[in-house]
Every structure is written in C-alpha cells, then in structure tokens.
C-alpha cells in the first residue's frame, strides 16, 4: 500500500500500542462506505439464486453490512450482475448502472456475466458485461458458490478501503471531466450497437510468436 499524506505510519502504530487510535477522515469515510454497501436487487439468471442464498441466514451477507438489497437503483451503490446478460437485457443493465448514484461498484458474478459462459458461442448472449460498464470484481463459476460471492464482496471492500479521495487515483466520479453516464447500447440489425464501449473494454491482444 502506498504511503498516504498526513500521518506517519510509525507514529500511528506507536500510538495504537498505547491504546490511542488515530485515523484520517478519508479512512473513516472509506470504513463507513465499505461496511454499508447496498446492492441493487437485481438477478438475471441462476446466479441470482446463489445471490439470494448468500443474503439469507446460512451465509448471512448481513455480516458485511451488504444485506440491504434495494429495489431502486437510486438507493444502491453496488450492482451484482448475477447471471446471463442477453443482448436484449444489456441496454437495461447499462441504464440501471447509469441510474445508480456515485460512487458505485459492480461485481460480475458467474461465468456468463464475465464472459458469456456456456452461451459464449450463442448469438444472443453478451460476452461479458465488462464490455459496457466497469467491473470491479469478476467471479468465475457456474454458478459460483455463496462463499465465492462473499469473497468477491470482501475483495471489493478492501478495494474501497484503499481508495484515495484525492490525487490521480481518486474515483471516477471525483474527476470533473469524466462523463456522468456510460453510453447505452441499442439493438442494431445484427448485434448491439456499439458492440462494446472502448472506454471500459480493453481486451487482451493476442501476441503470436513469429
């Protein structure tokens, strides 16, 4: 982890040994944010069943403060894309993402949401939601077990914890020139138009040996 401006780490650990806990406003803010993620109640396919199981008593998502599934995107800050995103559904997913208030995060849950999964060769399934919206955590699996979703949530929590509010690594919504919304794809003649958003989609390029 990079050194943050403000307090000296040595002094901080010395103080905490003496029972004096110090923090910064940024750490306090991130601590509050990471422990009160409100997911959008949003299931697309069978992964949603695992997501529902995660929120129930056995796996108990409430331990992480993330059990408040909101029926409206206006009140949610975490979108769990749980399941197959068909090309019919993709514009709605992007529109819902646009309607969520900042700062917002996305977990792509399951093989379909991250890549198209078993339907990758099909004509009607989007090959990964990260073509249109920025995804923070990808979970493989078909479907992933609830433990995998919990792990993704913890990964996201550690990401939020390390987010700086100032400097060049600050979140997108604090960058004044960053656009407020991502373009919503439309149904074209053969495929969604555009087929991906070059702002967020950076596919790995194949390098062949000569």
């Amino acid at each position: 982890m990079e050194m943050r401006p403000g307090m000296d780490e040595g002094l901080r650990s010395e103080l905490s040994k003496q029972g004096i806990f110090t923090t910064t406003l940024e750490d306090l803010y991130n601590w509050g944010r990471k422990n009160s993620l409100w997911p959008l109640g949003f299931g697309l396919a069978c992964c949603a069943i695992e997501m529902i199981a995660t929120s129930m008593a056995r796996y108990d998502l409430a331990r992480f403060g993330a059990e408040v599934f909101r029926p409206s995107p206006r009140q949610a800050d975490l979108m769990i894309v749980a399941g197959t995103v068909t090309k019919k559904m993709a514009p709605q997913v992007v529109r819902l993402y646009n309607q969520m208030p900042e700062p917002k995060y996305v977990i792509a849950m399951g093989a379909c949401a991250i890549s198209g999964g078993p339907f990758k060769q099909g004509y009607n399934v989007l090959k990964g939601i990260d073509r249109y919206i920025p995804v923070d955590v990808h979970i493989p699996g078909c479907p992933p077990r609830p433990e995998a979703l919990l792990h993704a949530l913890m990964t996201l929590q550690s990401k939020i914890e390390g987010q700086a509010l100032t400097g060049k690594d600050r979140p997108r919504h604090l960058v004044a020139e960053a656009p407020a919304e991502y373009p919503v794809p439309e149904q074209g003649e053969h495929d969604l138009v555009p087929a991906s958003n070059p702002q967020v989609w950076h596919p790995p390029s194949v390098k062949r040996q000569a």
């Binding site: 995107p73 529109r95 819902l96 309607q99 919304e181």
Partner: protein, 125 residues
Amino acid sequence: MPNEPHPYLFIVLLMLGAAGFALVPLALAWVWARAFSPPKPGKNKQAIYECGLESKGDAWVKFGSEYYLYAIVFLIFDVETVFLLPFAVSFSGLSAGAFVAMIVFLLLLTEGLVWAWGKGVLTWR
C-alpha cells in the same frame, strides 16, 4: 436575584442542543457531499422510470368509461355475497324489519342484474 439566570434558560439551552444534534450532522453531510460527491446529472440518471426500460408514450392515457359495467356486476356478485352470508347465518333470529330491509337490498341488486342482463353485459363477445 438579578445575578441568577432565568429559570427557563436551561430549556432554551436544551432546545439549542437538540436542534444542533439534528442539524450539525446534516450540515456536515452537506459539506462533505459538496466536496466528495459532486452531482453528475445525465439523461438516464434523471429519468423518472427506474426499472431499466425507457418509458414510452404519454402517462395521460384514457380509460374506457364502459368499465363502470364491470364495477356494477362486481357489486352484484361480490358485495352481495358479503352481506348474504351473515344474513343466512343469523336468519332464524332476525326481526321482521331486518328481514324486509335485506329483501329490499336483494331486490335492488337483482334489479341491477336484470338491467345488466338486458344490456347484454353477460353475453360473451
């Protein structure tokens, strides 16, 4: 005596404390939001409909006035049953006046049924 504070001063102080307790967090949240949550409105974000789909057409749709017939037939068959059941249960203990009142009520509803029948509401088209 002139040096003693006003007896109601404590109440005023408590009221100020209570108002501050409520308002200071709100003010802090407002200041924080100004700095770290800049508003970013957009066409999708400002949309009224929030289920992901775009709304189509006008909200000022017309309802057919002939739906009142369904309301009347509902009254005859459903509300009548609600009154018929207690009527049947306490039938033997009813006074003559209550009996006559119930019969009048039934006759009124039957008249409505005859009228609706006459208008052809019960015919399936």
